[in-house]
Symmetry: C5
Subunit: 296 residues, 5 copies
């Protein structure tokens, strides 16, 4: 996640970190070059066919419709992913407090919270597709061979509650509170996995990229007569808008990647460790700070 | 569900798998042919009536409005269907953990989880309208004659809980936890059946297809004067946009079909089997992998 | 509810069932006739004032905004109504399973489920404004004199639980589960009554119909110069789009009416009877089938 | 709330009740007069500056964007307010049934329901900013001096449950059910107070009214050349659309006012009295009927 | 939060408090000056390149799309923040009533409510990034050294419940009710922290500001031919619309800042103190009143 204040004049002119410009510079320049070629040809031969501007408007409206939809859908995925992680953090904090109330034995309680922290790290590593063996917690490394490590971590937490309930250390009220809390965690986990495993329909990507490129390639034929040598500039600006938006939405629709706009899951895992530290009798680690405006 | 990375240049030019082009190629070509005929007639007779471009813009806006609405509605249906299936997966995992806590007897617990797996398969088969007798699980085949097999599977699960509760093996807390979980499953099941049984209002399909075709058929009369021989190309691009979107939305609005964008219900059922395997004392099966970019 | 597959070419040309055409044919023809009169007058006198096309575009955008909003609002009402009925079905199924678990006595349990079926029929009849005395269930006819029959049916169900709880046949867990379920049903019932009793603000209807008609009446003055004798056709198409959408939204915003797009409440009540049949020890009735593409 | 059927032809031409026309007639006429002045000046002097129509289109799009947003936001506030009141009605009905189950003593139960009715009336009066002393219920008048009368009514209900719980008349299950229900009521109450106390950001009102007026004042300069004497008519229609929508949204965004589109809270309070009457052993009062199409 | 009635004519002309004008006056004037320079150059040299108006329309549509999206997203953040704070207020009121029911000892109950008030103030101070040591409550100042003061306050509340539960003063029903309520509070707290810590993606700010400025800088080249000396006025109006909206959305997207449209968290904390006063045996403080139309 990029953490920056609102852009000032200087940022507007120069910001590349967090900007989409570097990634679309090549295609935009290619489109501008094509536009230049069309204008040159038109000036030399005078035989370049000319398209109608008002018909082009309809074309542009259709394109806005595609891009507008995809932008909303991608942003919704990103924001839902963030909501789910915020909810997981709240559920971990609530779990700690409920364990405090319903589990008298400190050791059993702490084992549950360690399992919960194992879960959140395994969940993060699983969503990012990283190797589970490199996890920063021993409890997670142990789960590396499980068919589904985050589920295994929650199963472990469930087994602790089951053992406590059978031993009489956790009464019915406690068992119900704690399992309901884990049920809520499982819902949010499944929500994250849904976003990670179900990309936006591929057909939209094809429709949008194909239409955007066609539009920018045909635009010079509509502009050359009226706009002349400013056509390439215009095509570049329109290309910047449309390809830039397509690129942003591509990135936002994968909120668990380690891209500039990915969810700062490392920071949220750390926040969970900070919030659970008092319950575990530990000193809280410091919160993660952004490096070069980027929070992982 | 089509599982592909973002399209690169080559994909943009050639991708047909997951593309909508094959299905709309014929009508788009017919529309382009009509446009060609209009241009030819205009060049020969000079008496073809000409329509006004700016009035056409209004027409296009109305059409964008229809298509934009239908696109959002269809995508919402698809995404809600995916959410419901993600929620079912989470509920099955939570059910397994709650059974672990509240049902001490391993045999009774496993019978409940088998019933839950029967349910999810029967639900999948029911949504797809497939024959229940061909189900991969014996427990589902048994239900084939029930008036509503998925409900019968959940009824069976409920009966196990009722029997356990009356025998004293499941206490009040457990009965309440487990029935509440089944209540949640029933809500998500009903949500899926709602989407499957209530298509988008038919009248929208008529309005959209009729207006799209009329628009593309009238467009040449507006373009021929200014755009000339490029008119058929233009009509084809606009037809690709509008008919392509209509086709995509038709497909997304039926998320339980076995179309390229259908929900990957087989894969989710398998994910449920993987997650429940440790609770059933089984070895987890491997996750389903996409075949030719397609995950069923 | 109209149940049809996606329209094929023949349907596009001919479908009237589920189409909006029959209801808007008269006003659209009147608008086209007015347009013809304007063109004729213009050709004869040459003194017909001409309006500017680009200014008209703004007008059209405003109109799209109204229609787009109303379309979304109406569809949301329709879809929410469908969701509520799907939720009621799920709640009835869950109630049956919870009664199975928490109410040991078969007679008491069945009385509860009969009361639940009375409720859903009374609720349906109440939403449609039909006479309660013609209900197909004796239990509903009995309630015809109650100030609010659906509430009376749920009150009866509540009284059964209260009696069972006081007699010791339903323990605290059961009482809490069953009353919570009835509370959920009451929320969905109130949601339906909200939609039935709170139409879309009347002022929108006025704004939209007045603006649509004004637009179509003024349009010929903008088109006559450029579009000539094709003006009436154009006005008819625009009128079809705008009045058609206004008509569809009028219908969808009243989802409990017996219109072609009304919620198929009869079919859902039947589905509830099917799902509850095994719990009542009855043979399940067959599901309702659409008649002439229409499911009531 | 205005209760009318869909407008027929006569209504379209004449309806003022529920129409926005009377409130915006003066500014629309002033705008039309300004437009007339511009046309006259242009005809006399020929020196009136002329603005470009296509640039105006952009301006209009921006304005549609503002109005579209505000319309959605205002309607969402109105519909959410209606949802919250529907939810309160359902919660009161559920409370009555839960009290029936968990509170054996009729007197104690009825006292609770009276407190709930006191709450809903106090809540209505509080939202409308009316004097609490004029309330139609003695139980509400008593609360007039409390710092927050609706909270005081719910506190009273809570105190009854607390007393019953300590006296053993309400067991743990009942206490939990009833307090959870009151918690739900408190959430919906806070939702209503949020809408009442947090208007739409004032800055939007400024932006929209300023831009609408500027637009309508500048429009004649764009139209005079092409549209001539029809310009004032056109300006009046555009002013009707834009100012009318601004006015409607102003009204809908204050859903608790006694305006034509305000929530019919009197009718809902009455519906609560009707639903609770059997539980209180009373004869249900008749439902409120609209007066001159208006339901308060 | 700005608290004003709807603007009258005088406000429309003069209102600066709550207006966005002061903050965008400089860039708008600069843009108008640039436009004037272009017109002057065009009149003197006649060699200024001219851009096509209809192509500009597409550009404007793209921009509307960006601004429309950002406006919706920013408003949703603001409104969600307001919802969360309304929910916190409701939860505090419900907590007080549940404590009344489930905690017989007045001292223990009041200690819990004090901890809840500590939490809400610590939460407010934390969201605004103010120094915790300057808090108006001693209970908050004590938490200043905790790694996360609002969590520490809720942990304190949880510890009180745990102690009461172990001492037998709070039974299982009470422990479950109260911990569930704190769990709900934790969810809303995490929601607020999510909004505070996850700004809108920075890339949108860059795209929008860059495109808005480019648009306004290029606009004179499109208008100078047709609009002449009115071009600077037009550019200023368009700049007012686009930059004004960008500024409003910047502000709304940070709902916890002390800006004119920030959430009135001081007032809500005071409302919580008023609602809890009777439960704490205190005289309720007066509600906060706006100062110069501003409620902090």
């Amino acid at each position: 996640m990029i953490v920056r204040d609102r852009p000032n004049l200087w940022d507007l002119l120069t910001a590349l970190r967090g900007s989409i410009v570097p990634r679309i510079a090549v295609p935009v320049l290619v489109l501008a070059a094509c536009a230049t070629a069309v204008v040159v040809l038109d000036r030399i031969t005078g035989a370049v066919p000319r398209l109608d501007g008002s018909a082009f408007a309809v074309f542009g409206i259709g394109l806005s419709l595609f891009l507008g939809f995809r932008n909303n859908a991608a942003y919704d995925r990103w924001w839902e992913a963030r909501k789910l992680w915020g909810g997981l953090l709240a559920d971990l904090r609530a779990l700690a407090r409920e364990a405090e109330v319903f589990v008298a034995d400190t050791g059993a309680r702490r084992a549950m919270l360690e399992a919960a922290l194992d879960f959140i790290h395994a969940h993060r590593i699983n969503l990012r597709g990283l190797p589970m063996r490199d996890a920063p917690r021993a409890g997670v490394v142990v789960l590396a061979d499980a068919p589904h490590p985050p589920c295994a971590a929650l199963d472990g937490l469930g087994a602790l509650i089951a053992a406590g309930h059978r031993a009489g250390a956790v009464d019915g009220f406690g068992a119900r509170s704690l399992t309901a809390r884990i049920g809520g965690i499982a819902q949010q986990q499944a929500g994250c996995e849904r976003i990670a495993n179900s990309p936006l329909p591929f057909v939209y990507s094809l429709l949008i990229y194909r239409t955007s490129y066609l539009y920018c390639l045909l635009l010079p034929f509509a502009l050359t007569a009226t706009t002349g040598w400013a056509t390439p500039l215009f095509v570049a600006v329109v290309g910047y808008m449309f390809l830039g938006l397509a690129e942003v939405t591509e990135e936002l629709s994968h909120p668990f990647a380690t891209s500039p706009n990915g969810i700062a899951m490392d920071a949220i895992c750390r926040a969970a460790e900070i919030s659970l530290a008092p319950h575990l009798g530990r000193v809280a680690p410091p919160p993660l700070a952004p490096v070069d405006h980027y929070l992982s």
